[in-house]
């Protein structure tokens, strides 16, 4: 049951106008061998009432209790305004704002987004979004290679305390162009980048620094940045935007600031939603503007001298430059940026700082509560944000299974990505968790530790 508005009479009139007798004739240029009669094997059409019931029942299967997983996707409170407005038809069903005069709503919004995001990162310019955090890192790596005119190398230093999926995605996307991704270790004691390993890679083109790193530990970003710059290495910061309300932003890391910042925009008003749609953000210093991938909105004037907004620097993009574009990206994640712009507007200057502070202090509360459990070890002695790695005295796999079957996701099983971190769970606490929630986690974990062999 498609959404066509045609009446029988319409069809007859239209066919007559075209000068044919049935719709099939419209396909007379297609060789018969390619045509199928009817489409078999698709579940038959259901009306909206049936579909609503069917899908609602499927969703209900996934009803769940408390989530303590972060690891790149963060559960923050999203004010009701955000999605009530984001799904307004005028935002939801507009195309990319190529026709500027008919798209000032989206364009002004993106301009505001760019302003907020570049302010948040202490950079000069932000693009209008990329697909997600991981792919934005891949794009940042390609950009770093373009902008680093002092190096021929395509070596990129990728500390192992970077989100493992970001590494994986960077590999899928960049290595075909000869990019070489170089692992360096983290210190087992504090989870931070092992700086001793760095010096042997001073020929690299770029250094990726995730802060807070995958384990939630706060890197010595100033030192790392200054070292990199001293070696003519471009610094790519991978950061959590909510953490940046509290922590030193990439643009002022070290003496000169990180060169490119990127990461996952999801924490800013986008629901967890099984991992997507999210969006990747990217900011940089002004001098690199023309190497930034993705759409960018600029301010200009109309023919009457009134201010307005347009997509700009399009000469970087595939629809103009084709094989010489900065990236192949076309469709981005506009609607997510719409939500984030509202989110940032609602929380404002002080509100986002408070969200970050609340996350931090609730994480501390959680750590204090969990520490007392027998056999539990909190890994990585460092300052932290969002996440903490907990080494369990029993199988992390079984603990997770047990706790999830009782309605709490205790965290990500780190041993899946870091063989050396056996039975270690990466737990995340944000502002949405109450003392009772933390207590529920502790109790259930206690129970799990008892029950599990």
């Amino acid at each position: 049951m498609s959404f066509i508005p045609h009446t029988k009479e319409d069809i007859a009139t239209m066919l007559a106008e075209i000068g044919i007798s049935d719709i099939e004739a419209l396909y007379d240029e297609i060789p018969d061998e390619f045509k199928i009669g009817t489409l078999e094997g698709i579940p038959s059409a259901a009306n909206e009432m049936e579909v609503v019931r069917e899908i609602t029942a499927l969703a209900a299967k996934d009803k769940f209790g408390l989530n303590f997983i972060g690891a790149g996707a963060y559960e923050h409170f999203i004010p009701s305004v955000v999605w009530e407005l984001t799904t307004r038809g005028e935002f939801y069903t507009a195309y990319t704002p190529y026709q500027a005069e008919a798209s000032q709503g989206t364009l002004q919004l993106i301009y505001e987004y760019q302003s907020m995001m570049s302010n948040l990162m202490a950079h000069d310019i932000s693009n209008a979004s990329l697909y997600d955090g991981a792919s934005s890192l891949a794009e940042a790596i390609l950009m770093a290679i373009r902008v680093n005119r002092t190096k021929d190398s395509k070596k990129i230093i990728m500390p192992r305390n970077l989100h493992p999926s970001y590494k994986a995605v960077a590999e899928s996307i960049t290595t075909k162009q000869g990019v070489e991704l170089i692992d360096i270790e983290f210190n087992p004691a504090d989870g931070l980048i092992n700086t001793q390993d760095l010096d042997s890679h001073s020929d690299a083109t770029a250094l990726v620094i995730q802060n807070p790193n995958f384990f939630g530990s706060l890197e010595n970003v100033d030192g790392l940045t200054d070292w990199a710059h001293s070696q003519n290495i471009i610094v790519i910061a991978v950061v959590n935007p909510i953490a940046m309300a509290l922590l030193k932003p990439p643009g002022i890391w070290g003496e000169r600031g990180a060169d490119i910042a990127c990461g996952e925009g999801q924490p800013l008003g986008v629901p967890l939603s099984s991992g997507g749609p999210y969006y990747g953000f990217m900011t940089t210093r002004g001098e690199f503007s023309r190497q930034l991938p993705g759409r960018i909105v600029g301010k200009t004037l109309d023919s009457n001298g009134n201010e307005g907004f347009v997509l700009t620097l399009q000469a970087r993009e595939q629809h103009i430059r084709r094989s010489k574009a900065t990236s192949n990206i076309c469709t981005n994640q506009g609607l997510m940026v719409t939500a984030s712009t509202m989110y940032m507007s609602l929380y404002g200057e002080q509100g986002l700082v408070d969200v970050a502070k609340s996350c931090h202090s609730k994480l501390n509360e959680f750590i204090t509560a969990i520490k007392n459990l027998k056999g539990i070890e909190v890994l990585f002695d460092s300052e932290r944000f969002h996440e903490v790695a907990i080494c369990m005295p029993k199988s992390s796999k079984k603990i997770i299974e047990y706790m999830e079957s009782h309605g709490i996701s205790p965290g990500l099983d780190l041993s899946l990505y870091f063989p050396e971190l056996e039975n270690t769970v990466l737990a995340c606490v944000t502002e949405v968790k109450t003392t009772e929630d933390i207590q529920a986690y502790v109790s259930l974990l206690e129970e799990a530790l008892e029950v599990i062999e």
Binding site: I42, N67, A102, T106, K248, S345
Partner: protein, 482 residues
């Protein structure tokens, strides 16, 4: 009325009181790690936020308010049920790393969507993870290269694209480290087969084709093209941007394609959202199945689970941190459930009917078709070359003038090989009345090329702003407030 920037509405110390939080008192970050500069966010009230973004929204054209015949973009109606169901809190609150046992609902949806897309493409395996068409292309070319590599043919690094190809095609090939070979189109809108024969060779990795092509016509030599490319050892990539034209009528696999993407935000009616998110699910035949990007959902003993590298050891890997744009996929699945197989065939039939009807009427009213001898697919191209010569009015002028009639502009200047091109795609969800009104507007604009060329040149004249200065925007780059 001009809406000020949100920053211009800011006042120090103002905030949304109902979002104030207990920030706790346990603080353990050292001063040197802390931010000292302000965020530079606006400080506004909740009412200000609501009013600002509501007013901004009203400054957009959108499918929900305007006919939007944007060629190559399939701006069809986005059913509200898809949105409502995808926003079910049980879907929204699922963390991507939650275990499979407590995720059977969403996994079932994704699995079923994979199966449906396998049927409509005629392919053997679908991966839903690519986040837009361009990323699907990237996955596709990567799979093609992986295939050749597996066969020891790492030298195959040439990707052939027609000159009418979408920009993402060559850009993707380059991102995959390939060389791009561009082939011209003949006067009927078909690929020049003779030149193709010359172009293929031992280094051919594959060809990327849209069919119906970006010119709005069916690539008639597709059977021969497929033989030529395959005989040369290359693979066939299908850019599914125009799948709407042949949904349920022609299976891309049967035309000889090995791999393809589907823009779910086109054919499967997920919203464009002012620029995304989309979804560029990829589909492959048996040859490329081992290389499919992950995650993919599979089913064992009635339980849905994520396929892993044991299932697909040769996978080209991951393209996103998690699983692509799941929320978009859910919308596409809901749409597919409402359509069923029959509804899918209706989609192509009626998008094609609308395009051919509109093409005929515009032609009757004096517009020159780019390929007058051809049927339209679900879209068609007009060339204003002669008109521009005679009157000075360009495709851009027509585009801007249409805005004053309440219609969004067609795609302009694409494909580039058609001079002063308007690529018009009405989609199946528009009524005959709307098409007729559009013809009236176009006809009126055409008359005004002579009677009111200044009015046309200065259009739009009824919107909040008149024509915006793109050049100034580049020259005096201003990309942030303050």
């Amino acid at each position: 009325m001009k809406e000020q920037l949100i920053f211009q509405q800011s006042k120090k110390g103002r905030r949304v009181n109902s979002l104030k939080l207990d920030i706790g008192d346990s603080f353990s970050i050292s001063k040197d790690k802390l931010r000292e500069t302000p965020l530079g966010f606006a400080e506004v009230s909740e009412l200000q936020v609501v009013r600002h973004f509501t007013r901004l929204s009203q400054q957009n054209f959108s499918i929900d308010t305007n006919f939007y015949p944007l060629g190559s973009c399939t701006m069809k109606y986005n059913p509200r049920a898809c949105n409502k169901l995808a926003l079910n809190p049980d879907f929204l609150s699922r963390h991507p790393y939650r275990g499979e046992t407590n995720s059977q609902g969403v996994l079932e949806c994704l699995y079923n969507l994979q199966s449906i897309l396998e049927v409509v493409t005629g392919m053997d395996q679908v991966s839903l993870t690519p986040m837009a068409g361009a990323q699907g292309e990237l996955a596709g070319v990567a799979m093609i290269l992986a295939y050749h590599k597996k066969r020891g043919e790492t030298h195959r690094n040439e990707i052939i694209v027609p000159d009418g190809a979408h920009g993402t095609n060559p850009a993707t090939a380059i991102m995959c480290g390939c060389k791009v070979i561009e082939l011209p189109t003949d006067k009927n809108g078909n690929l020049d087969i003779a030149l193709l024969k010359d172009a293929v060779g031992p280094n051919t990795a594959g060809i990327m084709l849209t069919n119906p092509s970006t010119l709005g016509t069916f690539e008639q030599g597709i059977g021969e093209i497929s033989s030529i490319v395959h005989d040369a050892g290359g693979l066939m990539y299908y850019d599914g941007a125009n799948l709407n034209a042949i949904l349920g009528k022609v299976l891309p696999a049967s035309m000889g394609f090995d791999v393809m993407h589907i823009n779910l935000h086109k054919t499967f009616a997920t919203p464009h959202g002012g620029g995304g998110p989309g979804s560029g699910a990829v589909a492959v035949n048996e040859k490329l199945k081992p290389f499919i990007p992950l995650p993919v959902v599979t089913k064992t003993d009635d339980k849905y689970r994520w396929a892993n590298t044991d299932d697909f050891p040769d996978s080209i890997g991951k393209l996103s941190a998690f699983m692509g744009n799941v929320g978009v996929l859910l919308r596409a699945y809901v749409y597919a459930r409402m359509l069923g197989g029959e509804g899918m065939t209706e989609v192509s039939n009626f998008s094609t009917l609308n395009a051919n009807y509109l093409m005929k009427k515009l032609q009757k009213n004096g517009f020159k078709l780019a390929y007058p001898g051809r049927r339209a697919s679900h879209e068609f191209a007009i060339s204003l070359k002669e008109i521009t010569k005679e009157t000075g009015a360009t495709a851009m002028d027509v585009a801007k003038a249409l805005l004053d009639y309440g219609f969004h502009a067609p795609t302009t200047y694409f494909p580039l090989l058609i001079p002063e091109c308007l690529l018009i795609e009405p989609t199946e969800t528009e009524s005959k009345e709307t098409l007729d009104a559009f013809v009236d507007a176009m006809t009126d604009i055409k008359a005004r090329f002579v009677s009111d060329i200044d009015g046309i040149k200065s259009s739009p004249n009824t919107l909040a702003l008149t024509r915006l200065d793109d050049v100034k925007a580049v020259k005096e780059l201003n990309v942030r407030f303050g």
